[in-house]
Structure formats: structure tokens, C-alpha cells
């Protein structure tokens, strides 16, 4: 199943920065006809007072009459983002930027929306543009570094952060990103120096989280659990911590503990993609489909179009005997992702259930081909 966990993993340390930047206040309206002006003002008021749902309704109503108002578009995007509807937010920001191509705050919000849904490759060029325009701004620089790290551009991260690390010798975030990039770039000795600097500050939840998530990525699940358990003991409020702690528990066999961890993460951040997906998948395996659906739907809201989530939803349709719906969803998935073997497997089963033997056999052949191709890539000798 396609995953983007590594980006979120590396992004932990700068999420707080992103959250701060993401709270762009609603822009004020210019002169409008009295009635519409009041709708916009009310929406802004609602947004400022934290009533995001009312703000969204107001902006949407206003934009129905004034579809090209960049302020309303931008503010609506911010409101959507606040509710975890990042895809909708991106649509609004893009529309606003078409009208005002040089609006830096909107650009930043667009990049942040991409960043939040794990689209590092979309976010990075925008952060890079912001960084070049204002190289002294710390937050866009850090976010850019994190995106590059997620994209495997380790050398660029080192080049970007080396000078900053000298200026901000005590900044843990810089040290983490730089140290990780150095280690991943096989500059282990230099990486050690940077990370030792972190360790000199003593045991911290952040350090344990970094160690734990890196071990998770390396499939050292027991080691990850040890570090993440310590992180939980040191600071259970650390953003994203319970999401990764849940993963470590899951991979080491404690399913019940994992579910509790995911629930705890979602209590603090209902839009955490990983926790929604994993908890939904666990509930699905328990045949608790009604329980699973809200989590999977929320995950899909956070990352619209995510193939892994859509596959889970399709299998629930199938398990509930909604075979035609499952068929439609799976056909769409394999069309978008022709090498998604698991989706082909389930689609074959769906076809057989529908007595469509020829289609089932066709999918089965695709599965066999994909598996054979995958096996040929396995390390080891080629069979004689």
C-alpha cells in the first residue's frame, strides 16, 4: 500500500513552526455592496472567534456571488485547513493565487497545506521561493529543509542548514534535521558531531521521538518501541508522538495498546492521517466496519485521493457485500495505480464474486505478472 509516513516522520520537529505559520488571520474586506459586505464581515468575525464552520458557510455564501474575491478565497482556504480539509484549502489558495500571483502569505499557506498532507514535492518549490525571497525567515527555511529531507535531497539539506547551524548552535530543530541529513548522506562522522550536540542536552522526548521514528523506518520495531516509550514518559503531549508510538506497538504485537495510542493521538489531533488510517484498518480487521469508516473517511479527507485509504474503503464495501461499489472503487484505483498489486488481488476476487470469470482471470494474470516482477527484483541469485 502506498505510504508517506517517512515525510511525516521527518516533519515532526517543524510541525510546531508550521502550525504557527498556518494560523494566518483572515484578511479584511475591501468595499462591497452593503449586504454582501456584511456576510463577509460576519464570516471573518466567526473565523476570528473560532467558529470555523460558520465562517466556512459565510465565505461559501459570499463567494457564490463574488467568486473571484481573493480575500474570501484565501480566508476560506484557511478555514478549510483549520478543519483538516486541506485539499479544499489548496483549491481556494490556488484560485486566490491566480488572481494575486505575488501574494506571499497565500503562497505560504498553500505550501503549508501541501506540507500538512505530506505532499513534500508540491510544498518544497513554494517554500524554496519564499526562502529565496526572504532568506532570513527561519520557518520557511526549516520547512524547506524538512521537505527536502523527505525527498531524499540530503545534500541540499546540509547546504541549506550548515550556515544556519552555526548561527543557531543551540537550536535542536536545526540540529535534528542537519544531523539526520548528514547520517543519511553517509557523512556519519559529521552527523555524529551534530547529534552528540543534541545528546548533550540530555534525554528528551524530541530526541527519543527522532530515534524511535528513524528505527521504525529501519524496521527495528523493538528498538523504536523502546525509544518511543521513553518519549511518552518524558512528554506525552509532543505532537505526533502517539501516532508513531502506536505504530511501534502495532509492529511489536500489542494491537490493543496501538489502538489506544492512535485514539490518544486523535484526541489531540483529529486530522492525524496515520492514526486515522491505522485505527480504521484495525477496526476493519475486527469486522467493525461502522467503527472503521469514520476514521478512514477522515484520513481520506486529510489526504484526498490517497490510494491506501481508498483501498481500505473498497475492501469494506466488499466485506459488506456492496460488491458493485467495491468494483467501481477498485477499478478506479488500479486505473490510477496499475502496479497496485493488492488492489488487483481484491478486484480479481470481486470479479469472481460477480461471476465475471474472464475479468477475474485477467486480474489474476496481472497479479501473477506483478508478483513475478517483484520477485525478480529480490536480492539473491537468479534461479538457474
Amino acid at each position: 500500500m502506498p505510504r508517506r509516513e517517512s515525510f511525516r516522520t521527518s516533519g515532526i520537529l517543524v510541525l510546531a513552526l508550521a502550525a504557527a505559520l498556518g494560523a494566518q488571520g483572515p484578511a479584511r474586506p475591501t468595499a462591497q455592496p452593503p449586504a454582501d459586505d456584511q456576510i463577509l464581515k460576519d464570516a471573518i468575525g466567526a473565523q476570528q472567534s473560532g467558529n470555523t464552520d460558520a465562517a466556512i458557510r459565510g465565505y461559501e455564501k459570499y463567494l457564490a456571488a463574488h467568486p473571484d474575491n481573493p480575500i474570501a478565497l484565501s480566508n476560506l482556504g484557511a478555514a478549510y485547513a483549520k478543519n483538516g480539509r486541506y485539499s479544499d484549502a489548496i483549491t481556494q489558495y490556488k484560485h486566490a493565487l491566480k488572481l494575486q500571483p505575488s501574494n506571499a502569505p497565500v503562497e505560504m499557506n498553500l505550501a503549508l497545506a501541501y506540507y500538512k498532507i505530506g505532499e513534500a514535492e508540491e510544498a518544497a518549490p513554494i517554500f524554496e521561493k519564499v526562502h529565496r525571497a526572504a532568506p532570513d525567515q527561519f520557518q520557511p527555511t526549516m520547512l524547506l529543509a524538512d521537505c527536502w529531507l523527505a525527498m531524499g535531497k540530503n545534500k541540499q539539506v546540509v547546504e541549506l542548514l550548515d550556515p544556519i547551524a552555526q548561527q543557531r548552535a543551540d537550536d535542536l530543530g536545526v540540529a535534528y534535521l542537519l544531523g539526520t541529513a548528514l547520517v543519511r548522506d553517509n557523512q556519519v562522522e559529521r552527523g555524529q558531531v551534530v547529534i552528540d550536540k543534541i545528546l548533550r542536552n540530555g534525554d528528551s522526548a524530541e530526541a527519543r521521538l527522532l530515534l524511535g521514528t528513524t528505527k521504525l523506518n529501519g524496521n527495528d520495531f523493538a528498538g523504536a518501541l523502546e525509544d518511543l516509550s521513553k518519549a511518552v514518559a518524558l512528554n506525552p503531549e509532543l505532537p505526533d508522538l502517539y501516532s508513531f508510538y502506536g505504530l511501534a506497538l502495532l509492529r511489536t504485537g500489542d494491537t490493543k495498546g496501538a489502538a489506544e495510542a492512535f485514539r490518544r493521538e486523535l484526541a489531540a489531533n483529529p486530522n492525524d492521517f496515520n492514526s486515522n488510517l491505522q485505527l480504521g484498518a484495525l477496526l476493519k480487521m475486527d469486522e467493525n466496519y461502522d467503527g472503521a469508516l469514520p476514521y478512514l473517511n477522515r484520513a481520506l479527507q486529510v489526504r484526498p485521493g490517497d490510494l491506501g485509504v481508498r483501498y481500505q474503503l473498497a475492501t469494506i464495501e466488499f466485506a459488506q457485500n456492496n460488491v458493485e461499489q467495491a468494483r467501481a472503487q477498485l477499478e478506479a484505483i488500479v486505473k490510477e495505480s496499475p502496479n497496485f498489486t493488492e488492489a488487483h488481488v481484491t478486484l480479481a476476487t470481486v470479479y469472481y464474486r460477480l461471476k465475471l470469470k474472464a475479468e477475474g482471470d485477467r486480474e489474476r494474470a496481472i497479479v501473477q505478472r506483478l508478483n513475478a516482477e517483484a520477485q525478480e527484483k529480490q536480492p539473491g541469485a537468479v534461479a538457474k
Binding site: L199, K215, A222, E226, D254, T255, T341, E342, Q375, A381
Partner: protein
């Protein structure tokens, strides 16, 4: 470097960083000592049982894959004295291994007092090939169990001479089979009254040169993951009824399906009276061969439909490393459910029969998936260990890579066995409360079930790779009542494979299909023990014999807590 002085303060070392970068772990948790309660299963040591035979796995620096797959084991009553004897399979000479000392299989006669005597040489069943597994069946319907040994290289059929000795009749029977065979099962697919033979074929391992997958992180050869080998077709032999067999898989889905078979169970998934086959494959999809009978050309056909039946892949659509299998009517629905064990992180599957030739994986809902996430499963068995009438489950485990602990902190080479008890229609992991045997770890492979002391409580025998077999005596103190049946077919196959048993006690009617095979490389006590819980009588037992007779025999008020023989005649 000065930074090393900071380690104690931070409690994180430079080595932590380096190991995490390499994706390796070092920490290992020690397992806590578990139950203090009276053991449900008690390990019988060799000093008590007299079983001193030890498996030689032939582990070499090259790490040839056959070294890590064996061995199997069996409970059988070879001398028909009513007491279960034991057969153990060993490795032996092969194209990659020349033993420095003689290596042999072992047949242990039950002395009826909890001890066993090695009678291998007299019986003439010592093997002499690189053995894998064993399947016991009365292929010639003479009332005496015969032994089939699978192998890397050369299978052997030992015909029981009815005098405590056996004769190798492999060639005469037409069962000389090339390649690498693993699990085998006797069953009567065409209901002609003679047991046929299905043979799992593992991978194409080459001829004189064998695969090397290079060196691992330790700079040593390791056991290749079977993904790198080509799959092979399994074998189906038809019993001609005259002591010979004919290979008949050609033109069927059995020939067309290239797998890497490790486990097989014969069962009837759709209650049509024709025995089907569920085959566990390593790294490719499992196979479910549904017996469709004769086609219009008179050719017997099996339809491979694991994908359609949802037992080919994981719930998430992934091919896994299937090894051990079994079948039973776990949930008393009247239909056979299936089980397959896989390697760590894949979790095992318990497939509930949906009564329409499809299944649903309910392992997670039964706690099985959670308990097996870190384990690699081989021999396993559905059985009712406490005779309460509900089907329970035992799983034996062990990772195939002897160096796994160097790469993984949470997965071990030797692993514990697990016991599940059925309560309120769900399985519950009771390993922690079932005795010290469940706190220990083994490199388990084959597993056989059988009542070696005839107390009505089914015992367990586990064959370990490179070690001594583990005999677990069932000491369950539930005090439930039971009836043991030894079925003797007359028109149907003598072992009555495919018979359906129903029994009524305490207001509950239960049923059981006499499946065959299951587990991994192993063969089980052929008798059926019917648990009735606290009921103080059994109202009736009904046996529907398999075709060709299809007769129904009903026994009113049978005796309790003893074995009885029931003949089809």
C-alpha cells in the same frame, strides 16, 4: 572524541545513532516466566519417555535451504496394539550433504507405560534420504498403517508387513517422485474406497549447483528467502487399488498451479462429499483445490479457486509465506474453516467458511492475528484439548533464519508455542496460563496430535529443527467426559477419511469431518476423540461413512471415557 563523555548523561550513545542509521537493533527483552498454575501440557523429557533421537539439520556454512525446513513427525499405531507409536523424520545424504555419521529416521514403539522403545532397525524404516515429512495411511486397506516419507531427493513408501516390519515399495508402487516434496496427505478424492496421495512440491532448487543468496550483514551465507526460486507443480497420485499408483495431475489445475507448497490439508469445504485440498505456499498465493468430480471427458478435475474464495492472499491482498495449515468446523457451523500460518509480521489467518465457497479472515477478531504477529508458524492443529466439545488450537513456531536475532531485536530463532482455547465462540490465547512449556522456545517444525497414553486427552508431539522432539503430555484437569472412536472403513477407505461424525450430548449436537493431513510435514493419531463437557452421557453418535457406501451408522448411548472401534460393515 569528547562527545563520548556525554553518553551517560544523555543515556544515548553514538552507537545508538549508528545502529539506527543501519536499521538494526540490539536490545532484546527477556520473556517473563509465566504461569504458576498446574500445567495443561507437561513436557515429557527424553529421560522419562526414552525418546533419545535428535534431529540432524545438517546446517552448513553455505546454508542450503533444505536444512532449515525439516522435520516432520507422526503418531501412528504401527503394530495395531491400540497404543500410539511415534515416527520421526531425519535428514540424510543428499547432493549437498554427506553425513559424517550415519543418520536415520526413528520409529518408537509405545511401551504402554509412558515410555517408548526405538525399533527402527527391526522395522526397517530408517530412511536414508534427506527426509522432510511423513504421512501415514492404510493405502492397501489391510488394516495396518503404512508410512510415506517425503524428502529433498527421494520419497519412500514403507508398506506395513503386519509383523512389526516394513518394506520399501516406492518403486513398485510407482511413487518415485523427483524434486523436493514436503507435506503429503492421503485422501480418497474419487471415493473409490482407496486412499490417493497428494504431494506438495516445494521449489525448483536446481540440480547440482544450489542457490546462494550471498552474504548477510554478518558476512555469512544465509537461508535464501524462497522468493528467489521458481515454483513447482504438486503431485496427485491415484491409487489403482492393486498396490500401485498413477500420477494424474496432468491436465488439472494442480498441474497448472506453480506453487511452493509446504502444508496441505484434505477437507470438504462445500459439503458435497468430495474431498478438497487447501495448500499453503511460501511467498506465493495459497491454493484451494475444490474437487469438481469428473468432467465431460471423464477426467477428474480440481478447480483452483483460492483467489475467488479469499484464502489465497492476506486480507490486504498480499501473498505471504504460508507454511502450516489445518481445517475444522471451528465454529460449529457445519462447514469447514481453514487456517494458515505465515512468517513474522504477516500474521496467521483463520478463515471462517461463509458457506458459499468463500471465506473471511477472522484471525484478528479471535486474537490469533495479534498473538502471531512476531511469530513464524509451522506445525499446528485444531483439536479439543479439554474435551469441552469446542475446537481449540495449538501453534508451533520458529524462525527459519538461524541468524535472525542479529538483524531483528523482536524476532527470535526459537519461538514459543501458543495454545488457544475456544470460549463463547471465540478463540482466546491461553498460553500464559497453560504451563512452563509455553514459556520455553523451540525451533519447531512438524507437529502431530495423538493420545499416547489413552486417557482421552490429546497429547502433542513437536519435531524441532536440529533438536530433540518435544513430547507434551496433556494434563488438562477439566474433568470433561469423552468418547474415542476408531473408525474402520470396509467399502470406503479403511481409514474412513471423509467420514462425518455427529454426536448429541447435554442438549448440544456437534459434528466433525474426518479430515486428513493438516499441520506441517506431520501425521496424527487417526482416532477421533469426541468431547462432551460435563454431560454424563452421550445420547447418540452418528457416522456417515464416505462413498462409495455412504452408509449411516447410529449408535445410541455409547459408553463414556473409553475408545471403541466402529466398523462400516
Amino acid at each position: 572524541m569528547k562527545s563520548t563523555r556525554t553518553k551517560s548523561k544523555a543515556r544515548l550513545s553514538r552507537r545508538d545513532i549508528l545502529t539506527l542509521a543501519a536499521g538494526a537493533g540490539a536490545a532484546r527483552l527477556l520473556g517473563a516466566d509465566k504461569a504458576d498454575a498446574a500445567p495443561v501440557f507437561e513436557e515429557v523429557p527424553p529421560s522419562v519417555s526414552g525418546i533419545t533421537w535428535v534431529h540432524e539439520n545438517a546446517m552448513s556454512p553455505e546454508r542450503y535451504l533444505p536444512e532449515t525446513l525439516g522435520p516432520g513427525c507422526a503418531f501412528l499405531d504401527f503394530d495395531n496394539d491400540g497404543w500410539m507409536d511415534i515416527y520421526l523424520v531425519n535428514s540424510g545424504p543428499s547432493d549437498f550433504y554427506k553425513p559424517s555419521q550415519p543418520i536415520r529416521n526413528a520409529l518408537y514403539k509405545n511401551n504402554r507405560d509412558g515410555t517408548f522403545t526405538d525399533v527402527t532397525e527391526k522395522a526397517g524404516v530408517s530412511g536414508g534420504t534427506f527426509g522432510m515429512g511423513v504421512a501415514v495411511g492404510d493405502y492397501d486397506n489391510d488394516g495396518w498403517p503404512d508410512i510415506f516419507v517425503t524428502a529433498y531427493g527421494k520419497c519412500i513408501l514403507y508398506k506395513n508387513n503386519q509383523d512389526g516390519t516394513f518394506t520399501d515399495v516406492t518403486k513398485k508402487a510407482g511413487l518415485e517422485t523427483p524434486g523436493w516434496t514436503t507435506s503429503a496427505v492421503w485422501f480418497d478424492y474419487d471415493n473409490d474406497g482407496h486412499l490417493d496421495l497428494f504431494l506438495c512440491s516445494f521449489v525448483d532448487y536446481g540440480t547440482t549447483e544450489h542457490m546462494s543468496c550471498g552474504d548477510n550483514k554478518l558476512g555469512r551465507h544465509y537461508y535464501c528467502i524462497p522468493r528467489v526460486f521458481r515454483g513447482t507443480a504438486s503431485y496427485l497420485y491415484h491409487n489403482n487399488g492393486d498396490g500401485t499408483f498413477t500420477q494424474v495431475q496432468k491436465g488439472t489445475d494442480i498441474e497448472k498451479s506453480l506453487g511452493k507448497g509446504l502444508g496441505v490439508v484434505a477437507t470438504d469445504i462445500n459439503n458435497d462429499g468430495l474431498m478438497d485440498l487447501f495448500v499453503a505456499n511460501d511467498t506465493v498465493q495459497n491454493f484451494l483445490y475444490v474437487n469438481r468430480g469428473k468432467d465431460k471427458n471423464g477426467k477428474w478435475q480440481f478447480e483452483e479457486m483460492a483467489l475467488a474464495a479469499e484464502v489465497g492472499y492476506s486480507d490486504g491482498g498480499r501473498a505471504r509465506s504460508g507454511m502450516g495449515v489445518d481445517a475444522a468446523d471451528v465454529f460449529n457451523s457445519g462447514y469447514q474453516d481453514l487456517f494458515v500460518a505465515n512468517v513474522d509480521q504477516e500474521m496467521f489467518s483463520l478463515y471462517r467458511n461463509q458457506k458459499n465457497e468463500t471465506f473471511r479472515d477472522v484471525a484478528h477478531a479471535n486474537g490469533v492475528a495479534q498473538s502471531t504477529r512476531l511469530l513464524s508458524g509451522w506445525g499446528l492443529k485444531f483439536f479439543d484439548y479439554d474435551n469441552d466439545g469446542a475446537v481449540d488450537l495449538i501453534l508451533s513456531n520458529g524462525h527459519p533464519d538461524d541468524m535472525i536475532e542479529n538483524y531483528s531485536a523482536q524476532v527470535h530463532y526459537k519461538e514459543p508455542i501458543l495454545l488457544f482455547h475456544q470460549e463463547d465462540g471465540k478463540l482466546r490465547d491461553v498460553s500464559a496460563e497453560s504451563g512452563p512449556a509455553f514459556s520455553k522456545s523451540w525451533s519447531a517444525r512438524g507437529l502431530a496430535s495423538g493420545d499416547f497414553n489413552n486417557d482421552g486427552l490429546i497429547d502433542i508431539l513437536i519435531a524441532t529443527n536440529g533438536g530433540a522432539p518435544v513430547l507434551l503430555k496433556n494434563r488438562c484437569g477439566a474433568g470433561n467426559n469423552w468418547l474415542g472412536l476408531k473408525l474402520q472403513g470396509v467399502k470406503c477407505n479403511r481409514d474412513a477419511i471423509g467420514a462425518k461424525i455427529r454426536w448429541s450430548a447435554g442438549g448440544v449436537v456437534r459434528s466433525r469431518l474426518k479430515n486428513n493431513g493438516g499441520s506441517y510435514l506431520s501425521s496424527h493419531d487417526p482416532r477421533e476423540v469426541l468431547g462432551v463437557g460435563k454431560a454424563d452421557k452421550i445420547d447418540w453418535v452418528e457416522i456417515t461413512w464416505p462413498q462409495p457406501s455412504g452408509k449411516v451408522r447410529r449408535i445410541e448411548n455409547p459408553p463414556l471415557n473409553r475408545y471403541i472401534a466402529v466398523s462400516e460393515a
